[in-house]
């Protein structure tokens, strides 16, 4: 459910981007209602993205037919910012594509045109300081594509830990597990007591 929640948030950001920069989706008009499935290999997750003419819809856990299915690692996918890279990545077998090549190209093109004041936009969600920091990080990602993968995941990690408080530090995880074990014991004891009471 956390994944679904994050995907819902990502969908909101995309749709926010649409409102802020109407040109962004112009190329997508031609492919509206087509479904692009994106499989991120290192996460073992498939997402589906579709533009309905009014807004984006983004789903996780997707198992339906799509018009185009691409499969790659997250690092490879971040190279797609450059639409011309698509065929090169396929040739190098870094990226698998099944279905409509044109659909993937159109999305890649439209996302590379993406020109948004992310700071202003995200500050609505996260508060000014957090947004500023995030944008700095994203700029790094764009200029230093080589290390894109690690920085992107750091950014997401930091963002999640500090701003959204969804993912957790390993230490917190250990502590959490200990707590759960305790809680589970308590629950079992409580359950026994309730059963005893009910049995009387």
């Amino acid at each position: 459910m956390i994944k679904t929640l994050l995907v819902a948030a990502a969908e909101r950001v995309l749709n926010g981007a649409l409102n802020l920069d109407p040109h962004f989706a112009a190329p997508l008009k031609k492919v509206q209602h087509k479904v692009l499935a994106i499989e991120i290999r290192d996460w073992q997750q498939t997402f589906a993205l579709t533009y309905t003419g009014q807004s984006f819809m983004l789903f996780n856990n997707f198992q339906e037919q799509s018009d185009c299915h691409i499969s790659a690692s997250i690092a490879t996918l971040s190279e797609l910012k450059e639409p011309s890279q698509l065929t090169r990545l396929i040739r190098q077998e870094k990226l698998d594509l099944e279905g409509d090549l044109h659909l993937a190209q159109t999305y890649s093109q439209s996302f590379s045109n993406l020109d948004i004041d992310w700071a202003e936009h995200l500050s609505e969600y996260l508060g000014d300081a957090g947004a500023q920091q995030l944008v700095q990080q994203i700029k790094h990602v764009i200029t230093r594509t080589k290390k894109a993968d690690s920085i992107l995941s750091n950014t997401t990690q930091e963002l999640c830990q500090d701003e959204l408080k969804v993912t957790i530090h390993p230490l917190e995880m250990t502590q959490f597990k200990a707590h759960t074990r305790e809680l589970k014991q308590h629950a079992a004891q409580l359950e026994q007591r309730i059963n005893q009471l009910l049995a009387r």
């Binding site: 459910m1 679904t4 929640l5 995907v7 819902a8 509206q32 209602h33 479904v35 589906a48 579709t50 309905t52 003419g53 009014q54 807004s55 819809m57 789903f59 996780n60 856990n61 997707f62 198992q63 339906e64 037919q65 589970k184 629950a187 079992a188 409580l190 359950e191 309730i194």
Partner: protein, 251 residues
């Protein structure tokens, strides 16, 4: 599950005459219609949106489809489907209750969704459509209110096109005892009080809690779908089984 042969049925934990249940359910939803959306968010802490999102991801709805959002109430699913089916498709928001339909219609109109949605009052047990005429049917948090569930499932099967599918999103049985005790406490103590506070109507919310407990569990509902003719019936649990998403196909 041989309720079709009897003259009484459940209404929450009460037993009532079969022909009275529909109008008693109607009263509940007339009474909650205006506050329905806000109560949904409060009662589920907003999680109902994620459950519905998952249903849409599994629906396979595409451009040009004809979709029935049955017991659709205030139209959360209809709003998404309307965008997915586009100009060439159609979504029918079907509900037995005109108060709920009206709230739904006003809400969707405010969202600017007007072109491809139809609002039809209907009873799930006898759907007013020809055979093989609908691509996808969803019924979200609606089936437990239906008196004759077997008749409703058969009716849904009849109107689906071959290749079509049914999705049932409904409260179900959690297999964790601890979770189920917390959940019981929540729904029988806190929920009616919240209902009283926000909608000034604790009785209706007590009915909701009771009707959830009376609803068939995951496996039973799957069997009922198969009895009605559905193939490849299966389900996925969400939030520890508090909610289950059943899916079945007609070939």
């Amino acid at each position: 599950m041989k309720e079709s042969q009897q003259n009484t049925t459940d209404f929450g934990y009460k037993t009532v005459a079969r022909d009275e249940k529909a109008s008693m359910v109607a009263d509940v939803f007339h009474s909650v219609a205006a506050k329905y959306d806000i109560m949904n968010d409060l009662m589920s802490f907003g999680i109902h949106r994620l459950w519905k999102r998952q249903a849409i991801a599994c629906s396979g709805v595409r451009k040009g489809h004809r979709v029935l959002d049955l017991a659709g109430g205030t139209g959360d699913l209809t709003a998404k489907f309307s965008q997915l089916v586009g100009d060439t498709g159609q979504v029918i928001l079907g509900d037995i209750n005109d108060s709920m339909l009206k709230v739904g219609r006003d809400k969707l109109r405010d969202l600017g969704l007007v072109n491809n949605i139809e609002y039809v009052q209907m009873n799930a047990e006898a759907l007013p459509f020809p055979d093989n005429s609908i691509d996808v049917i969803t019924i979200a948090f609606g089936l437990r209110n239906v008196t004759d569930k077997d008749a409703a499932l058969k009716s849904m099967y009849r109107i689906l096109k071959p290749g079509g599918r049914l999705l049932i999103l409904e409260f179900s049985k959690t297999d964790s005892e601890a979770l189920s005790k917390i959940y019981d406490f929540y729904s029988f103590n806190l929920l009616p009080s919240m209902g009283k506070l926000v909608a000034n109507d604790s009785e209706s919310y007590r009915y909701l809690a009771e009707s959830i407990r009376m609803h068939p569990d995951q496996e039973t509902l799957k069997d009922m779908m198969e009895n009605a003719g559905f193939e490849q019936a299966n389900y996925q649990n969400m939030t520890g089984g508090i909610v289950a998403l059943h899916r079945g196909f007609k070939y």
